[in-house]
Amino acid sequence: MTTLVNGHFARLENATRRFGETVALDDVTLTIGGGELVGLLGPNGAGKSTMLSLLQGRRRPSSGTVELFGGNPTDPRRRARLGSTPQETALPDTLRVSEVVDLVAAHFPDRVPTDALADEFGFADLLRRQCGALSGGQKRRIAVALAFVGRPQLVLLDEPTTGLDVDARHALWQGIRRHHAAGTTIVVTSHYLEEIEALAERVIVIDNGVVLADDSLAAVRDRVDSAVIEFATDSPDAARALPGVVRDEWAGERLRLTVDDPDAFVRSLVRADVPFSGLTVRGASLEEAFLALTLSDRSAS
């Protein structure tokens, strides 16, 4: 069978997807192999959901190819071993929770019984409720559970813990780890670094539709370890010219620099005798880290 011969569950090859003028996904090539737990990390609008929608066969690539279990994901049969969760809390308001579970389960030859699923994801007390009456967190838990109801081999989780409190988030992470340990291949998207760090073994960083990094968690974490330094100065050009600066801008009267190594930068700032006052250092936010990653990649190449 093609699936096993090729040894991968999903593959994008030079996949590009445009929406009008916007390029949501730009020439992406990557492979998801059996047994992996992949984190897909990127800010909102980076192209994560577009990538998932291509793998789910909901959209076609503008160019390039997308493969799921060795075939075209727009063929419904290819999706028989795929589990997904809707990004928004999309459950139909008027249906009861048990009805939604039954509806989704009806698409799969080997389903998890409703009670077992509800126990596992902690919504046994909600089965008789109409979805419209649920809180955001409750809907989110049920939406994630739906991805597992058909005993899939590959699960795509799009922002699974958005809107959950800390306890619920950790419970869900445990559930995801448990399914992975039991042999399910999982791709989880998030714009929280913390979530990806807690779950993933392999991390794919994506922004503006481009894959910036595709590596082990440790390797990627090192690369996004940048900081933002702010200070007032009379000679901004000298500061900008120092090594390790990946981005500079003005924040009012102060110069704001994104640097890949804050300690080394401050040392060279002092050594170069650049005048400064009121210096502050903070860890880069994820988006700033992404930016650092993009720009350092460009300067390196």
């Binding site: 049969r77 028989a80 809707p86 008027t94």
Partner: protein, 268 residues
């Protein structure tokens, strides 16, 4: 793709194992009907409209209402109208609205064949479309001289059901092709075009010759003539059958194509 040689393969080794289409179709129909029943107001609106048309336009016109032949034709025409309006509106609008919600894209990520989803939507809507005939028949029976034999009534309902399929498919096609706001406008214009052109409001025997000829290409005309033929026990003409069949096949192909081409209204 090579065929697995072991017929005893487990689910683990057959990634393409899928469920049978019929139970899946039944499940979708059931959930769509439940959804509608829990918020029935939209259906009630389209159910009242054709019966009110009969009450205001036909009943006061005693030349028609008191003539058994004309009255029966008018009731049958408005029954066709009732089913058509309900099919176009309920299906077209529901499909267009659902495409704008995130649940529909989610269903598309499931192993759900296009034909199963479309036929389930058609069936669920048809149930309510058919209910909208009831008020028309009640008003027709009580307030006009329209009459029909038991056999004629049953035959008429069966034919009406079959000839309403193109309207369901047109509704679905409009829903898949347009946003809900555009769909409302298109359905309203199309609905009255079909109603007048097909002789549902004004009998085609009073049409000028060119309009009568044009009318023979309208699915509403085919539905009217075939339903009347069934009610009155006359033999339908070939153009009616051919027209209805052609519209059914073409609209089915169109709806299927539009469904497969559709990628929802959400970008990202």
């Amino acid at each position: 793709m090579s065929t697995p040689t072991r017929t005893t393969a487990t689910a683990e080794s057959t990634p393409l194992a899928t469920v049978a289409a019929l139970p899946l179709y039944a499940m979708h129909v059931r959930m769509l009907v439940i959804e509608t029943l829990r918020v029935p107001i939209a259906v009630i609106g389209t159910m009242a409209f054709p019966a009110l048309s009969l009450l205001f336009f036909v009943v006061p016109n005693r030349a028609v209402a008191d003539d058994p032949v004309f009255a029966t034709q008018a009731v049958a025409s408005l029954a066709v109208f009732a089913v058509m309006v309900s099919a176009l509106f309920n299906l077209g609008l529901t499909v267009a609205e659902n495409r704008e919600k995130p649940w529909d894209p989610y269903l598309r990520s499931l192993p759900l064949p296009a034909a199963v989803r479309i036929s389930a939507q058609l069936t669920a809507t048809a149930v309510f479309s058919f209910l909208s005939i009831v008020p028309v028949l009640v008003v027709g029976a009580l307030a006009t001289e329209a009459s029909v034999s038991a056999v004629g009534l049953i035959a008429g309902l069966v034919v009406l059901a079959l000839t309403s399929i193109p309207f369901l498919l047109i509704g679905a096609a409009i829903g898949y092709a347009f946003s809900s706001k555009a769909a409302i406008a298109i359905i309203q214009v199309g609905m009255f075009g079909f109603a007048f052109g097909g002789g549902l409001f004004f009998p085609p025997q009073f049409f000028p010759e060119w309009l009568e000829l044009l009318s023979r290409f309208f699915p509403s005309r085919h539905a009217r003539e075939l339903t009347l033929a069934a009610v009155e026990g006359t033999t339908p003409e070939l153009w009616m059958l051919a027209g209805a069949l052609a519209w059914t096949v073409l609209t089915a192909a169109l709806a299927l194509w539009l469904y497969r081409r559709d990628e929802g209204r959400r970008y990202r």
